[in-house]
Symmetry: C2
Subunit: 471 residues, 2 copies
């Protein structure tokens, strides 16, 4: 399916902005769409600090609308930010996680069934360490007050007793990213609002144009709060088995008849229905989503009427199956008690499993995808075989044949060990006589900035900006 499908400018605008909580700079978007000279360009950023989970489907589902509307979508994999987030994590790991994120996110868009020919991954370190970018960072810091920087990050930067200086830099860097990625708009959760208005205020002061900002509503996590990659119990991994998915959904917040703060309903509204709607729309436009091209199966039962988006399959004795062609009808039935939490949970778990299936199929087939995961999360990969202890031939006489050495008996091995120790002690004493070190002779050794070089090199050698399936 091509993103060049013939959709009018106003239809594209509707597709791009639907379901959003807020749009700033709609005129910027409209002007470019109406001019039709080039594709609209958007950016969404994520720091590959942990491991992507189904909570990521909330922004990705909205991004699917962008891709469907022919928008060029740049996904910034902010490796430097991820590295700074936890300076103790090895640099190599961040590089591998960047790679894994790229694989997972691409697979998800394929599963949703939207074109990925205008999906571009950009690794932060590919431009965030350049002279021009850093000069602009300095210029920005010489224009922005501490107060404004603090205010901009208030909702996104962790508010702690002793905040780090980096927290004040991030809003400015995120503003510069819009310029350096060369996009027309930035997309994010509505928690980014202050960062977005900060960018609108300050980019023009550097002589750069103001960008549009599109904001998703915040969605309650399955446990009722925002899903976090560090909260293992609530997150559903993209590689979780159907059983694991069911178990985690079973544990989710889903009070009978209650809509507010219901993580399962929220997920259906923000992820499952929009994905199903894209499928229905594609079909209506004569460009149906294709399972052969990696899209998932639909979330509806085979006997559902045409146009259905979501099915709750249950025996006749419990009221029979239900089929929904929009979310509000489901919410109404849930609020009235016509749909029981157990019914909803089962249907949502099945839909998630359905969506994850092609992602996992791709993972199993694609050796690079598998390797990316192993490298990115080595602790998850069981160590298959421990290396056997190898004995240096020079010391083989210190061990018995049973131990892999050459000594005929235990006694001989012990005698050899004693002789070796005496030899060592004598050599040490001789050396001590040769050199008498004065304290003043000891100079502190200058540490190399090896670690730093390694990062820069790793980042460069690592995932380059990849334009997928460019035609």
């Amino acid at each position: 399916m091509s993103s060049q499908a013939n959709i009018s400018a106003s239809d594209r605008f509707s597709l791009i902005t639907r379901d959003l909580d807020e749009v700033l700079g709609a005129d910027i978007i409209k002007a470019i769409l109406e001019k039709e000279e080039r594709p609209l360009s958007a950016y969404w950023g994520t720091a590959p600090t942990g491991r992507p989970h189904v909570g990521y489907l909330v922004p990705l589902t909205k991004i699917a609308d962008f891709l469907r509307a022919g928008v060029e979508v740049k996904i910034l994999l902010a490796d430097i930010h991820a590295f700074l987030d936890n300076l103790k994590a090895p640099i190599e790991l961040v590089r591998h996680r960047v790679n894994y994120y790229r694989h997972v996110l691409t697979a998800v868009f394929k599963a949703i069934g939207v074109p990925t020919d205008r999906l571009i991954f950009v690794v932060g370190s590919s431009y965030q360490l350049t002279e021009a970018y850093n000069m602009d960072n300095y210029r920005l810091c010489a224009s922005v007050t501490e107060h404004d920087a603090k205010k901009a990050g208030a909702e996104v930067v962790k508010q702690v007793a002793s905040p780090l200086l980096s927290g004040l830099l991030y809003p400015g860097l995120q503003a510069l990213d819009e310029q350096y990625l060369g996009v027309d708009m930035q997309f994010g959760g509505v928690d980014q609002r202050k960062i977005f208005t900060f960018a609108e205020q300050y980019l023009p002061k550097l002589g750069y144009k103001k960008r549009a900002h599109l904001m998703n509503a915040m969605v309650p996590g399955l446990k009722g709060s925002k899903m976090s990659s560090s909260d293992n119990s609530s997150k559903i991994d993209f590689l979780d088995t159907p059983k694991e998915v069911s178990k985690k959904i079973a544990d989710a917040v889903c009070a009978p008849g209650e809509v507010e703060g219901n993580g399962v309903l929220g997920f259906a509204r923000a992820v499952l229905f929009p994905i199903a709607r894209l499928r229905v729309e594609s079909e209506a436009m004569g460009t149906p989503v294709s399972e052969a091209q990696g899209a998932s199966k639909s979330f509806v039962a085979p006997d559902a009427p045409k146009g259905s988006m979501f099915s709750i399959v249950r025996p006749e004795k419990y009221g029979g199956s239900l089929h929904y062609s929009d979310y509000p009808s489901l919410e109404k039935d849930y609020a009235s008690g016509a749909v029981h939490p157990a019914d909803l949970k089962k249907a949502v778990a099945e839909a998630i499993t359905t969506l994850l299936e092609p992602v996992q199929t791709l993972f199993e087939k694609d050796a690079e995808f598998k390797k990316a995961k192993e490298d990115a999360y080595p602790e998850d990969t069981p160590v298959v075989k421990k290396k056997e202890k190898k004995i240096n031939p020079r010391f083989a006489h210190l061990y018995t044949k049973e131990e892999g050495g050459t000594a005929e008996t235990e006694e001989k091995a012990l005698a050899n060990q004693k002789a070796e120790e005496e030899k060592k002690a004598a050599a040490k004493a001789a050396k001590r006589q040769q050199q008498v070190t004065l304290p003043a002779d000891k100079e502190e050794v200058q540490p190399t900035d090896k670690e730093n070089e390694t990062f820069v090199e790793a980042a460069r050698a690592g995932v380059e900006n990849v334009h997928l399936e460019k035609k």
Copy 2:
């Protein structure tokens, strides 16, 4: 005179640290001096924001001790900081000022009579925009709390109601400079103390070694407060005439018998006596300061006894001339009233004029030095000739011959002007009919980051790191 003069390690240490207010990390310095494997390396930084004045002689006089002791001295000309200090100043100007500072400072060391073969100028932009430096800046910002950064800059960064973010970055950048300049110690006024201890605390956290820090006491300006490059009335420029010097010294704070806060006495103590002492010491070591190599004349009268450093020449009727071989004797005489403010001012003005003489001689002889000043301070250079107004040949018929045009009479010129205007109006109307612009067709033009590129290029093309008179 070579900096390799045979001075013992402990004598070098005394020379390097004498007169200082505070030394942190003396053991670091001693260890390197005693090892004698390589020269000790020091750094002092200045942002070429304005124009250097004789207030700069306070740090330069101490740096002269370093050079005399064989220390490799790196003077950081912080062009990026200067640019950020006033974003409205054209970038080109900063580049020219860097160049002028280099000329002036070199001339001053020659005038003092110390070797300059280990004097190295480093332009900040030569390394402060590199990937490695910026990665370290990010790493530092992710380790430093806002609180610590603020505390470090408290005495140096302007304390205003709405402080800029850049003020929080500077302490970290100054710490990184120690690493990237590859020095063993940093020198500055004691107002830098918190920045220095900040560097000692944080560089090791990045895996870099802790440096030594040498601090000069603060010296009262000639007007009683610290001399600033923006306060034109009190500053004595290195190119001021003897008359201008006398006038400015005459206006200086110098209450009879008062030592505290006396700018003229302070200048004698911090600049004139140390410079004179270097001369006396050089003579004693058999390597006299050479006027042929650009050094100034001495500050003593021809009839002064050997070892004198400073003379107050006055007629017998006012008590006759006085010659001092150390500063405390002068201070004592001034406090007792034996030396009158007018006597002191006259002698100090003459000493300054004596010191500036070879600087100004070099300026007059060196076309590049002159050009550097013209480019750096164009407002000081009188515009010699205004360009005459040139008339475009196409419009020559609109002007009389007297005005430089071709019309024979005033009437003909006016008639031609009227005809031209009618032609223009008709063309405009025709154009208006051809194109009807819809508001939606107007797209905001993306500004180039030309300005930024220009800076980076300018900085690169500009003054490179110069190692003077490398042998």
